[in-house]
Subunit: 386 residues, 2 copies
């Protein structure tokens, strides 16, 4: 396996982008990443997208991608694992370069979600859960995470306020991110008293419906040294794991096993301990998720994610900043783009290029955790500046 580094990143402004179609979104971030890398072509592309079929009636992004980024006959592969599609695009690009088949590969994450109405978006997202045993019986995604939250509160004593504090923290960070969708501060009381979605989760516990894209260009380390004029960021660990798609089949619905396994694989590949990690981007699709990820990766013990959040561990000026980007909650969650945007954010932080007020102090080794559905698939990456 060859060493792999990141030489280019790109991300558009996320939100309800009525003037952009999915092909524009792909091209926009792809071109920004090429520009950042100072190159005009890659050997191949991976496109992370959850459901361009259900959201935009357009599959075959493996053609749309290179076509609209003006790179035919460069090959492209769309990868999907629900909301972990973006992380998988980065992982696939990493593997292709590591294998030696290609030297320079782009991973683009994209989702165009606002071309369907709210019911259409909820239906599309629900296809990440078990259609036969969960969705047809009436459960939607907030419902699944509300069960996880309720069980976590019952088993570990996690409080309603602690859930809200995840949202408060991430919105505070997102305020400083010009690419974020919802740049506003919220208070614990506002989160708790917002419109109820699925008890105990209000709308301010939930990540939004977003259009957006992000792109990362990875390269063999040798070649990267010649091309890249910025601080080189190596991908030193990559882990990927699955869990049962149904919550009902799991031993403990308050623990994210696929994240735990993917994290262990990534750490082993990186030759690092969890305490070596300086900062992270987590998949906070719902507030409870960030707390569960803290525990699954072993940053805190089982059940201690809530108190750790309350004590400020994960704040931007805390000992272990999480979601300095604003996370899915404030930055937005175009599902297929999220995992790539996490790598864009880690790279910015490691390069020292993050926006004023949200650059973390020590940013040499960062971790990104991206997951699909109710944690039925997880992808973890560890990046290190050289």
């Amino acid at each position: 396996m060859r060493d792999v580094a990141i030489i280019g990143i790109g991300m558009n402004k996320w939100g309800e982008l009525w003037n952009s179609s999915i092909r524009n979104l792909i091209a926009e971030s792809a071109l920004l990443a090429l520009d950042d890398a100072g190159i005009d072509k890659v050997d191949s592309m991976y496109i992370g997208c959850m459901s361009s079929g259900l959201f935009t009636d357009q599959e075959h992004l493996g053609s749309i991608g290179p076509d609209y980024a003006a790179m035919c006959p460069v090959p492209a592969t769309r990868v999907e694992s629900a909301c972990a599609s973006g992380g998988l695009a980065v992982r696939s690009a990493f593997i292709e370069v590591a294998s030696g088949i290609s030297d320079i590969v782009m991973a683009v994450g994209v989702e165009k979600m606002t071309d369907v109405d709210g019911a259409g978006a909820t239906f599309g997202l629900a296809t990440a859960a078990d259609q036969e045993y969960e969705v047809y019986n009436g459960v939607t995604f907030p419902g699944l995470y509300s069960m996880m939250a309720t069980h976590h509160m019952y088993k570990h004593g996690t409080t309603r306020d602690q859930l809200a504090m995840v949202s408060v923290k991430n919105h505070k960070n997102g305020m400083k991110n010009p690419l974020a969708q919802f740049r506003m501060e919220v208070t614990v009381d506002q989160v708790k008293s917002a419109v109820m979605v699925a008890d105990p989760l209000t709308i301010l516990d939930c990540s939004p419906i977003t259009d957006g894209s992000a792109a990362v260009i990875v390269c063999s380390l040798d070649k990267a040294k010649a091309i890249c004029k910025k601080r080189l960021v190596k991908i030193i660990g990559s882990g990927h794991a699955s869990d049962t798609i149904q919550l009902a089949q799991r031993e403990d619905i308050s623990f994210l096993k696929s994240t735990a396994v993917a994290g262990q694989i990534a750490l082993k590949m990186a030759g690092k301990k969890i305490t070596d990690i300086n900062f992270a981007e987590f998949h906070d699709c719902f507030t409870i998720a960030e707390i569960m990820v803290l525990e699954a990766l072993g940053f805190v013990a089982k059940g201690k994610g809530g108190p750790a959040t309350q004590d400020g561990l994960t704040a931007i000026d805390g000992k272990f900043p999480v979601n300095a980007s604003g996370g899915l909650k404030s930055k937005g969650h175009p599902v297929g783009a999220t995992g790539v945007a996490q790598i864009v954010e880690l790279t910015k932080q490691i390069r020292g290029e993050a926006d004023k007020g949200r650059q973390v102090k020590k940013a040499d080794i960062g971790l990104a955790q991206n997951m699909g559905g109710s944690g039925a698939s997880s992808v973890v990456h560890i990046l290190e500046g050289v």
Copy 2:
């Protein structure tokens, strides 16, 4: 890059499988392939599927796959490039083993197409074409291929009978394949006088709507030598390329450029000339496609695919047998499964395990060509028995 060999293959009986859901189909071929390999687990999976979202309301096959094959937390990635999704699953598995990240990887191809009605299937398939510039203006897939056929006939003098002969040959081969969907012989007259779909293509020029799956297990060559008790089949070449998604943007709609490029890449990696190839499986989604693939890969000169078919070049007892399996036309075309089934067929032929009456005489080096949409993406593999 490490050498990669195939150690297990599996495929279910294709057709309208009312008693199977997509998860059953994945598990069925996965378990057959494990059984063929004599192992009970793999390191990871790739699942080629075009549109489980539009056909079955179920995305996130990266969880469904390992879950229903009883392999969690083994990771799985769904890959999609329309009808080339299966070929990409094999290519992704090949790259992962070649990289050294994993030793044993399964590629499963699957599509469950009959849970929607005919209009739903036509709509789902049309998402492989350009929604904004082709489909919204009324073109469906047979319409796109009818334009390609008409132009090929105009430019090269290809005859209506030559198109029909592709169908006649493939149905004759499929008769001998117990896993094929349509096991019946057809004549040139029957093809020509069948229900018209899009002039000049009748329903007997078109591949059918099919439920089915197929699986292949690839392994590092060193480990394969210890595990595999059958003839080892090496993947010696893999190529992948894109073209514009719209026909209107191409220089020549009677030539498959992405197939030509992917073929050249695969041949170069394999260190072979086109004349070294003994037999092949081509993506005959429509009869004209097989003729165009013969030309794009350079087996015959541009415009000579029709006469070569008429002269028997591609017959089972010809100099260069194509689609001994029955091809998409007779075997069926569950879109995401097709590319994997092609590799299953090449492996069977190279092992000498093909059914009586359709084993090709010289089967040491085989080629599989799989494509998406109207040729906007192509994947070519070359396999060699050792």
